[in-house]
Symmetry: C2
Subunit: 337 residues, 2 copies
DNA sequence: TTGTAGGCGTTATCAA
DNA sequence: TTGATAACGCCTACAA
């Protein structure tokens, strides 16, 4: 493995000149620069990162923190997409992305990566993080932090979030404009910030068209099974007065809803219109393909990492909370009423 | 940020002693060691990684290389699980996992991380990598490499693979033992190593019970839609003499197969038994829950990272290709014939 | 424009 | 068992 000294000797310049040339400094003339760079090429030289970072006092590492429970248990493709966006964008820069799991509320353990803290320039936290743990993280690490999809209105921390409110509003409005007046809401508890946002977006659309809430089920988790249970419950409760459409908080719930309705002998979209949120790969493959609100997951990753790098370099100008818009994807699970 | 010198001064020892104490060397007595460690605690000192790694000539970084196309386009949960296993296991060690995407055959670009090569101790490649690109990688980087789920019989490179052959064999045998004699095979082309392995495992089981191949479709990709197309094709071809069971190369295909059969008015498992491979979260949630072969994805990640670390440290004793077994998960999509 | 020398924070060697 | 001191490879004033 060659070092700077080798390059300098070959090119017949001093160490300093070689270093400056490699870092494209104005202090060295083009001819010398070229001579040095040619030898860099010829030798296949790459600077030793440890030495460089030690001298520069930076590490060009960004840690991506993920709640291991959510990641492993729910195995949500959402993560895959956001992570993809993060890595893809990071690779355009000089930064590397290092992974780190953290435990849940009680076993939130910084020791696990604390020893690497001198090797980190900034932190991305993916998904909801407990307020208390966030505080610990901030206090102990004293590094720039950005929260992606944290859903929280934590004013003092930078974040990138999907426009949950707007998405739910958009979806509901679409159903209304198709002529539906009795729309069922299927989501998660309002205690979860995502649940709250969606519920408010949903209601906003109803209000705008002077419609009343018809029926709702908010006890879902985010999986298919929950969708099934929701339908069982709602159909049981409203036997003689069923809604004509269902807003579902995410695609998995929507898929469960559709499955269960089909099991009960109903036709989609003839008997019920179904709309979801997320746009999973699966959503376009099921039958009928699901109408949904596409969350720009990769873009959230892109923006997150770029904003963080700007923050690290003290030139971030954007808002504390960056809201990413989303897009209605019309497929075949909805029809006009 | 405190440095070693601060600790040494506080503890009233020399730099060398402090360093030795922190690295738990036998050369320093327990009393001194404790004194130093107490001050480490008190000051909240952590060694500077750049300095340490520079001095040690190691980086304790492992790069996880992933084909960006597969990762982003197919968004397979398989990745999530393996990556989870890798990170979880790496966190028990002093190694960090850094992510890196690589392009496809033609734009396989090492330059993108080549500059960080002095910052890497080893490489994990996830999923199939082109033979030619692997060669480039090996020659340019000269670092320990391990291939996870590469499916290839590349003898000279370390690898961790699922027992595809055994899994297909196991699944088929199960169908046969349920009494099925006419079993359809739905998979991907034999040109893909996964396809080849599964097809051979499938045939092996048939042979053992003196059964003939009944019908097969090998043009699938790995998604739900492919499963649908396969059923359309097979049912059309065999109109008057249908199989009683289908072996499907993965769960997504199996799900498509089940959906399409249900659409055509058949009942699962009454009319057809369906078996898949993978065990996705989805598989237990659909109706009926899918019988499948559970691939130990997290374990593959665990083993991969551990083996790589052993290889880095020159104490790996296991086989070049480490084969991970899998497990038949009986659910409700199969019944005896 | 180029070269010299000191510093970045650890580890490791070798006397004491 | 401890304490100077020289690496590790690069960056950057400062001087020439």
């Amino acid at each position: 493995m060659y070092k700077l000294k080798d390059v300098a000797e070959k090119a017949n310049v001093s160490l300093a000149t070689a270093s400056l040339a490699i870092n494209d400094s104005d202090l060295v003339n083009d001819k010398t620069k070229k001579k040095v760079l040619d030898w860099v090429q010829k030798l296949g030289y790459y600077p030793n990162m440890h030495a460089r970072n030690l001298a520069r006092g930076r590490s060009y590492n960004i840690v991506l923190m993920i709640n291991s429970k959510y990641f492993l248990t729910y195995s949500n493709i959402f993560y895959l997409r956001v992570i993809g966006g993060i890595i893809k964008e990071a690779e355009k820069t000089e930064y590397s992305v290092v992974f780190s799991f953290y435990g849940d509320k009680k076993d939130f353990d910084l020791e696990k990566f604390k020893h690497k803290i001198t090797n980190i320039d900034g932190i991305v936290v993916l998904d909801v993080i407990d307020k208390k743990n966030l505080k610990i993280l901030k206090e102990k690490c004293k590094l720039p932090i950005i929260l992606i999809d944290n859903h929280k209105k934590n004013k003092s921390t930078y974040g990138v979030d999907n426009d949950d409110y707007g998405g739910a509003y958009k979806a509901t409005k679409y159903l209304i404009e198709l002529g539906h007046k009795k729309i069922g809401y299927i989501g998660i508890p309002d205690s979860h910030p995502l649940g709250k946002e969606c519920w408010e977006g949903f209601k906003k659309a109803l209000e705008e068209y002077n419609l009343n809430e018809f029926c709702s089920y908010k006890k879902c988790k985010l999986g298919i099974t929950s969708g099934r249970e929701a339908i069982d419950y709602l159909i049981n409760i409203n036997k003689n007065n069923l809604p004509s459409a269902f807003f579902c908080l995410n695609d998995y719930i929507a898929i469960g809803v559709m499955e269960e309705l089909k099991n009960k002998g109903y036709k989609i979209p003839d008997d019920f219109s179904i709309i979801g949120m997320d746009d999973m790969p699966l959503s376009s493959e099921i039958d009928p393909p699901l109408t949904t609100v596409k969350i720009k997951m990769e873009e959230m990753g892109n923006i997150g990492i770029n904003n963080l790098i700007s923050i690290i370099n003290n030139n971030y100008k954007g808002p504390r909370k960056f809201i990413v818009d989303n897009e209605l994807i019309k497929r075949k699970s909805c029809k006009s009423f």
